[in-house]
Symmetry: C2
Subunit: 418 residues, 2 copies
């Protein structure tokens, strides 16, 4: 019985040779994601992994809909495993925004799904950090969300030598398109062509752009200009004040595929250009209005960062910490007549939030000690019965090999001194 | 656009009036689950939320299969959202057990799914703590897993007045059944009848038992005896040594519905008997052998604890902590000419893992201060420009109302003193 194609098992370290995904690394990434988002005052939320199909079919653009992991459930409802979090959070905000002070700053760590042929860096599921701000139209919020993206990557040990955030602007592209005589109703079609320029043959882009009355050379000229439009200059100044300017550059080659973006957009890439995008996002001021069918109007912006490319980057930059040591204390049970008292000792350690382990059944002294080393324990502890019947506890520091002996009266007093 | 029936949104606190599920409470529960499992030396793993349908159809007994959230995917594969974690972890262990030292002690926090009519305490999804031990046949491992279950609930503030673990044994029931002339091949059928006795009309149970040659009064007599069979006495002695005996009692009315249990089984209930089971589990020594089609033979045992009943119990016992304060510092920007420097200050705090917030756009002093109070901040900090052009930082402790003033040179030196 094998798992489904494109899905992952997450084993504890040390992971089996043919299983590259470690739950310890995943939880390390999740921990950095959460800590940084909380440092920025973002609050955690979550929604269902399964949503009505209609939540996606009109909102996200053709690209994502074709790849949905959708099906008809036993109650004949068209449903889909969530391919992205933005429609869910837009639904949640549209439903209940009045309960929350603005601006709303929320994050989530959803598992997302898509049905497409799995390939390197793209499986059928991944986890994604989603951070969004609702209720702030000012570009200072765009700077905040980009700063958060940068600091999330910094919290994992990555530096400006490892990644760069490419900043662009749908508004800038909109102004470009209109100033060249483009039809405003065809703007999204135009954005889609620009989005694919890097991957498409020049002839194809030329032909598609011609249908909109735009020359490829003009588009390429704008991409190569890299002159910050006003909204991007404001973001740059803001990031500079935070000491984060080295992590960003203006790059109009970024425009983002999804239909709902309306303002500043951005993507983070590894500087060596070896991997897919690490993260991406932007402003989507109309989506809440759409999702709420006109009832709620809140400006919004955010980003998503997946775990797959990120884990590849951390491995490539040797930024994966060691997860070998998970136990503070191994309690050695060398005198079986003291097994029950030793269990009491184990309980005292665990009650004090000090991870502790022991062997379930009688085992030779050296086997128990070997287990302590394998678990990366900081110390061993064992009870010993003296000839006068009293019991003492022997504590051995496995780093310094120093030993301490203390009287044991059954209470946790013996380790009060650490 | 509404979410699907039986699924939950998890809002940050304070949750909207009609939305009872809080992400803060969920993460509080997850935090206690993880911390306690780690204190016991358990390592975290995870698997796919979607598995091949066959993983469940033969292994889990009829009860669970009828409620599966299964479908046929776009590649014509029969698949199911996972209804429980045990088949997944059994698959993972069966595949890769050689990479891990025994006993294997693992935990996971999966979201699980079932397709049935939602009712109080039972939705179409829930989260579950799963803890399992593989590779230890001795009953000392049964005691360890029950102790972990107890300590998980204790870590949330629950006491022996709030919950009890009812201990039973499939072996004891097996011995009972055989000693009354039962046919060993009908043992699981017999267990199923016993499992339903509390919910079924006596006539129905009497009739079903008669078909197996057993009298209902005999079964009731055994349930009421509550005499610990040897394996349960061993568990009780072990738990007593840990100071946890007050949390358990022998109760042969517990037998568990799933087919795969083979030894000690148990369920945790609120002592007032107001809610469904909080947790349940037991020993399943044959499952790895079955799942691996005979290739691997490892004794196994574990338990699952859902978040829905648990959250209800915590609310009823007023054990839900306050989640109001999420920010240490609010940086007040009263002099807009100092906005960029203030952003630098915000960055210093966040870089030091001290959650900090500020207002994105110019706002009146009292509005900014009110925001600090709403966020539950411990202090406000603001930059002030003196007449000689130098800048100072004013730190206000919002509890004591004490103020401190320090020089500000743009470096984080100002808060080095705390």
């Amino acid at each position: 019985m094998e798992r489904l194609t494109g899905f992952r098992d997450f084993y504890p370290e040390p992971v089996p040779a043919n299983e590259p995904w470690s739950c310890d690394l995943r939880q390390h990434i999740f921990g950095c994601w959460r800590r940084t988002a909380r440092n920025y005052g973002f609050r955690e939320y979550d929604g269902p992994p399964l949503e009505p199909l209609e939540l996606y079919t009109n909102k996200s653009g053709a690209e994502i809909v074709a790849q949905l992991f959708n099906f008809v459930d036993k109650g004949d409802r068209a449903v889909s495993l969530r391919p992205e979090m933005t429609p869910t959070v837009a639904r949640m905000v549209a439903t209940s925004e009045r309960a929350f002070k603005k601006p709303i700053k929320w994050f989530s760590l959803p598992q997302l799904f898509r049905y497409e042929k799995p390939q390197k860096g793209r499986l059928r599921e991944h986890f994604q950090l989603n951070c969004d701000i609702f209720g702030e139209a000012d570009v200072s919020a765009d700077a905040e969300i980009v700063a958060l993206l940068i600091d999330v990557l910094r919290s994992l040990g990555l530096t400006a030598e490892d990644f760069v955030v490419r900043l662009s602007s749908r508004q800038a592209w909109q102004r470009f398109f209109i100033s060249r005589g483009g039809n405003p109703e065809q703007a999204y079609e135009f954005f889609q062509i620009v989005d694919k320029i890097e991957r498409e043959k020049p002839e194809v882009s030329t032909q598609k752009l011609a249908a909109l009355g735009i020359a490829l050379t003009e588009v390429q000229g704008f991409i190569n200009s890299s002159v910050p439009e006003p909204e991007l200059q404001s973001v740059l100044d803001n990031l500079e004040a935070r000491g984060l300017k080295a992590f960003v550059k203006v790059d109009y080659g970024v425009i983002r595929g999804l239909a709902y973006y309306t303002g500043v957009v951005f993507e983070a890439f590894d500087t060596k250009g070896e991997l897919r995008a690490i993260a991406g996002g932007g402003r989507y001021d109309q989506l809440i209005h759409q999702v709420s069918e006109g009832k709620v109007n809140l400006p919004a912006l955010g980003f998503g960062m997946g775990d797959v490319v990120l884990a590849e980057l951390l491995k490539a930059r040797q930024l994966v910490p060691s997860f070998a040591s998970t136990i503070d204390t191994v309690v050695l049970i060398e005198d079986e007549s003291l097994r029950l008292q030793s269990l009491g000792l184990v309980q005292q350690l665990r009650d004090a939030d000090s991870p502790a382990d022991y062997t379930f059944t009688p085992a030779k002294s050296d086997r128990q000690f070997k287990k302590a080393l394998e678990l990366g324990a900081a110390r061993t502890v064992r009870l010993e019965r003296l000839s006068d019947g009293t019991i003492q506890v022997r504590i051995k520091n496995l780093k310094t090999r120093e030993e301490a002996i203390r009287p044991y009266d059954g209470s946790p007093a013996w380790f009060a001194g650490g």
